[in-house]
Structure formats: C-alpha cells, structure tokens
C-alpha cells in the first residue's frame, strides 16, 4: 500500500489496515505454526476491545491497581532553570511497578484470562516489562516465564530478584548477543512450542499483528489523560510532546491521541549511545534501514548483508535493534520527528531532574528529558511541552554509581 504524503488525508485511527500494515511497515512475518495463534489473538482482541464489561474491568484495574490517572506535573523550577517553554511531566513513573509497562500487561493479562490461557510468557531487557508481567501474573494466579538475556540478568539483578519474588521463572538466554532481541527470539520459540496453553505478553509496540495495534491501544491511556490534563491546566493544547523510543510503547501511548492535532510538534528520542557517528548506538529510526525482524517490517539496525547488529545504550530498555512499525510509518510520513540523545546527555539530564525537581527518572526517560530540556530552551515561556516520564530511576542507581566510579 503506498503511503500518503499529505497529512490532511490521513485517518490515524484507521491504522493499521486489517492485516496490520502501517504503510509498508508492520504486517505478520512469523513461522507458519504461529499464524493460527495470531488469528485467534486478533479475533479475541477485536471482540473484547468492543466488550463493555472487558473495558470496564480494564479501566477499574488501571484506576485501583495501577493508580491512574497518573499526574501531569508542571516542573516549574526546571522550566525556570531552562528559561524556555513550560515543561510538564507525565508521571508514568508513579504507576504501580514504576513505569508505563503495566498499562499494557494488565490489558494483555485480562485478554489471556478471557481466552482461557493460564500460562503467560514475556521477554524483558531492563526487567521493567518482566516485572510488570510477573506482577499481573501473580495477581491473576497465572504461571509466568520471563526470558531475559544473560547479560541483562547481570546488569539488572534487583529486577531479576523482584520477578522471582513475584513467582515468575526467569530463564537466562545465552544465544546471540544475550540481550533483549535474543530474549524475544527465545520467547517466540517457547510460544511456538506451547502455543495451545500459552499467551505471549509482548512488552512493546512491535512484533506481528495484532501486537503493535493492541499494545498501542492499551498504552494510549497515557496520551488521552495527558490531553485532558493539559487542557484543564493551561486551557490549550501543548506545543510539543517528547518521549523516548526503544520499541516505542510509551511514546506511541503519549503520541497517538495527539496525532490529529496538527499544531502539536511531536519528538521521539532514540538512544545515540556513544554517538550516532561511532556506530555504537540503538537508533534504528535515525540511522537504520527498513527490514524484517521479530514478526514485523520496520527500521532496523542491520549490516549490509541483513544481519542484525549489536546495539549500545547505557539504558537497557532502549538497547534494541528494532522499533515499532507505527513509528517507522510516522517517520516516513513526517508526522513525528525522530532524534537521538547520547549516554552522556542522558546522564546529565538524569542528574538535572533529580537535583532540580526531586524526581529520579529512569535512564530510558532521561533520554526524553535531555531532548525535552534542549527543545524547551528554544521555545518561549508562553509555550508548553509534555515530556513522558515513562519510568522511575531506582532500578538504575547501581548502573549510574558504577559509571561514576562510586561504590555503594
């Protein structure tokens, strides 16, 4: 399907098409054994997303278990220090389990229960999605297996212990680069083997159709709330939105309800690692090429032969060679601007927010903070921007201490 370059003609709500395509991106590229499971999932999701009782249960869980709505916080001291636009933070870090991930795992666990699947599996990089999956599995009394790269298990020991406390089995993945992408491969292998009783909770807006659409819909609560909140607080739409993009679920969650508001400039921030020019980064939208991985066509970090290359970011949650297909499409049609922030810039932003506002952001969210602050400085005090504070930084303090040569 050709992509339409004229933005006025685009019906964002109608995307993806019925086979999961966002322009040339998305789709369903999996082994034959999973095709039937994906059809079942799509049918179940279509049915339950229109079911009033299911939606009421989802909304109640978001309110009473996750703690929604999350506040939209006017960071006045930070805004004054920067001396530009008014900075508003969407506080996803205040959700139960400390990040936006739980919005999606609640939705998928409810769907798993409705489909009669009693075993859930998940992949995790930083451990946030693994913890969010283990949490909902504990709450719904489901068996939970989390695949995690052996390297990440070392980097994120506290989250590994958290998942075990919650009753999940954490399986180390030692193939390939031993990180998130390999955990995803291994989770797919589990699913193809145990497809009859198992629900695969994918943690981001990637993977085969219907995952990118389904996860977007579950996460869009972020943007719907933020839109209402900013209108209440300032009486107008924001001038800009900023969110970090690994797989891209927190970003699409914030962006989607604003896509039709043409006056709102939207920025997705990838991980530039040591710098895009060094090749050590995790920025497929800024410096990758389209390809097919993990069930969808999207921008990838790959070499000229088509092999997936290792990525680098100080933030484990952004350390992924692909990105959700809707982001790939939004990039091509020019609706969202994608940019990147280095490890160094993210660390500086981490300290700035901690010091000035008393909020410790996750390293992932620190990338959004770093770009948001840069952008705010170019804007006027009458303007406003929303930065998605997708997670809290407690999980990262060991990493940061180590980088700065401090022993805890």
């Amino acid at each position: 399907m050709p992509t339409d370059k004229t933005q006025q003609a685009i019906d964002y709500a109608a995307m993806p098409d019925d086979r999961g395509h966002f322009g040339i991106y998305g789709g369903r590229f999996v082994s034959e054994t999973l095709m039937q499971a994906l059809d079942e999932l799509r049918d179940a999701y279509e049915k339950f997303s229109k079911d009033k009782e299911f939606q009421a249960q989802f909304d109640a869980d978001l309110a009473y278990y996750v703690g929604r709505p999350s506040p939209l916080y006017h960071a006045e001291r930070l805004s004054n220090e920067v001396g530009g636009a008014q900075i508003f933070l969407k506080r996803e870090d205040l959700n139960h389990t400390g990040a936006h991930k739980i919005n999606n795992t609640i939705g998928q666990a409810l769907l798993a229960r409705a489909m009669g699947k009693n075993r859930v599996i998940a992949e995790t990089g930083a451990g946030q999605h693994g913890v969010a999956s283990a949490t909902v599995a504990a709450r719904f009394g489901m068996e939970c297996v989390v695949y995690m790269g052996a390297e990440d298990i070392v980097r994120q020991a506290p989250n590994v212990y958290r998942m075990k406390l919650l009753g999940a089995e954490v399986v180390p993945v030692t193939s390939g680069s031993k990180t998130l992408k390999d955990a995803l491969n291994e989770a797919m292998r589990d699913w193809v083997t145990n497809v009859d009783n198992t629900f695969y909770i994918i943690g981001t807006v990637a993977g085969p159709h219907p995952y990118p659409q389904m996860v977007r819909d579950f996460q869009s609560v972020i943007g719907r709330e933020a839109r209402t909140q900013i209108l209440e607080m300032t009486g107008k739409l924001p001038d800009a939105l900023v969110a970090c993009v690994g797989g891209g679920s927190n970003a699409i969650g914030l962006f989607h309800p604003f896509l039709e508001d043409e006056s709102v400039e939207i920025y997705g921030v990838e991980a530039a690692g040591d710098g895009i020019e060094t090749g050590h980064h995790a920025a497929p939208l800024c410096a990758g090429e389209p390809g097919v991985l993990h069930g969808n066509r999207t921008y990838l970090m790959e070499d000229r032969a088509g092999q997936i290359i290792e990525t680098h970011s100080v933030s484990a949650g952004l350390d992924y060679p692909g990105v959700g297909p809707e982001h790939a499409w939004l990039k091509d049609i020019g609706r969202v601007n994608y940019t990147a922030i280095t490890d160094k810039e993210a660390l500086a932003a981490f300290h700035q927010l901690t010091r000035v506002e008393g909020i410790i952001p996750a390293l992932e969210s620190s990338h959004a903070m770093a770009y948001g602050v840069k952008l705010a400085a170019t804007m006027s005090p009458e303007q406003s921007l929303i930065i998605n504070l997708s997670g809290r930084g407690d999980k990262d303090i060991n990493t940061i201490a180590k980088i700065e040569g401090i022993e805890l």
Partner: protein, 281 residues
C-alpha cells in the same frame, strides 16, 4: 522440466521417497560445505536443503542456532551461499538445492535481485521461514519469474482454509512441520503426522515433505511411509558439531559421520514397504 520435478517424478517411478538433508552454509568451516553436499548425494540424498545463516533464527532450536553462529563467525553471506551452489553445480547439475533462511537477508538484497542471483547460481527453490503467503505476493512473483519454486511450510496448527491458500501459491513441494516447536525437537508423533498429511492431500497435489524432529533411521522410515520426502536437519548438524574445531581438516570426519547417518536412513526408507507397515503397527 525443473530439477525438482524430475527428481520427484523419478522417485515416484521407483516407488521411493526423497531424503533431504540440511546443511548450514559455512558450518563449521567454509571449506566443508561443498564436499559435504557431494558426499550427501553419494550417501543417498535426493535434494539438499542449504541453510543461509541469520543472526536471529527465531524458528530454530539450539542446534541450528549454534550452526548459524558458527557460520557467522566466518561472515557467511548470501554471496557465499550462491558461490557454494555454483561450485556444487560444476560437478552435479541434477540434485535440486533448496535454500532455507529468514526473510531479512532477502529483503535487504531486494526480491528480484535475490531471485536472479539464486537462479543463476543453480538454486531450485527457496524456503523462507518467516514469510507467510499473506505477505508474499511480490516475493512469489520474483521467485517464479526466475524459475525458482517458493516452498511453503504447513504446521499442525494450519487451518484447512490456510492449507488451501498455501496450495494456491506453493511450488516444488510443500514442507510439513511435524510438530509444534522449533527445529530439532524430539517428540514427533507419526500417527498425527499421517493424519494431517491426509488432510493436506485433499487440497494440495504437490509432493509433501516432512521435517522437524526426524533424528534416526526408524523415524525416517516411518515418516517416509506416509509422505513423499523426509527432511533431516538437526540430527546432521549435531553430528557435525561434535567435530567443531573450525578446522578444514575435520571435513573427512564430518563426511564419514554424516554419510553413516544418511546411509542408515536411506536403507530404512528403501526397505520393503510391507516391512515398514508391520514395524509401525
């Protein structure tokens, strides 16, 4: 007539079934692949499935994953796969070669460019594990326009409706994945395979191959009794991996071991069909 068609017609006339061994290009050393392919034909292989290594082989079990990692240590690319096929064709212009791999390598090459080079090298068909027919219109026309057979997989979970869809676009043969799982799993159930093959035959006239989980002569014989071809992958790669020293001098040992395995399978598959029936009963 294509090499694949002649192969299956001749086997049919002889009332024999195809034995299809798999080898990963460049595993465990780039010098091993072509001599091993010739040895496989000598040991009774009718078709060769040649793997192209990919960094993220989602549908493969640990044995083939490790083979891909070994091959990638030598930076094996599609060019190397094609070069090996062209080398093989210097001495053997009869045995069909099916390339098996993942879509991204073909996406990056471009479908038409890929198909043209594969056909020129002497490839006969292509299995792309993560390319379902729903996404495959351009891919299929590129392959077919260069005389290559798009070989598709059917799984135990494939519905009757999708079997029909696959039958409409597939060529060469159809590959039935004998179990829910990844390559190299060990719990193949011959009765349920036979049942599903009968269901597939109602809609598809092409020869039916069976793979995933065939590791010894006995299973090969049982499966060949109800199918047209038996694909053996992990069992071979496992034997090869026992010799992994990334050293070309291991070629002879590998060839001896793989020949022994294939000889056993060939003999069991060719044994009197009555014999096979009593054995499985």
């Amino acid at each position: 007539m294509s090499r694949l068609q002649s192969c299956f017609e001749q086997l049919k006339a002889e009332q024999r079934k195809a034995l299809i061994p798999y080898v990963m290009t460049g595993d465990p050393h780039p010098d091993v692949t072509v001599p091993l392919m010739h040895a496989m034909v000598k040991a009774g292989a009718n078709i060769i499935e040649l793997g192209a290594p990919f960094s993220d082989p989602m549908a493969d079990g640990p044995v083939i994953q490790a083979a891909a990692e070994r091959a990638l240590e030598f930076d094996i690319s599609l060019d190397d796969v094609f070069n090996n096929v062209a080398d093989f064709r210097k001495l053997d212009d009869v045995t069909p070669i099916i390339m098996m791999g993942y879509l991204n390598l073909i996406e990056v090459a471009g479908y038409d460019n890929f198909a043209a080079r594969a056909a020129a090298a002497g490839v006969d068909g292509v299995i792309t594990v993560d390319m379902p027919p729903e996404e495959a219109d351009d891919y299929i026309s590129a392959l077919k326009s260069h005389g290559l057979a798009p070989v598709f997989l059917i799984a135990p979970t494939t519905t009757s409706e999708r079997i029909g869809k696959i039958g409409n676009v597939a060529d060469g043969f159809v590959y039935y994945v004998s179990l829910k799982g990844v390559t190299g799993a060990a719990n193949l159930d011959v009765d349920s395979v036979a049942e599903k093959l009968a269901e597939i035959r109602q809609q598809i006239d092409l020869p039916l191959g069976v793979g995933f989980g065939i590791s010894n002569a006995e299973t090969a014989a049982q499966v060949s009794a109800c199918s047209d071809a038996v694909v053996v992958g992990s069992a071979i790669v496992k034997r090869m991996a026992a010799h992994q020293t990334h050293d070309a001098t291991q070629t002879e040992d590998i060839i001896r071991d793989v020949t022994e395995l294939l000889n056993g399978m060939r003999q069991a598959m060719d044994a009197d069909i009555e014999n096979k029936i009593t054995k499985t009963a």
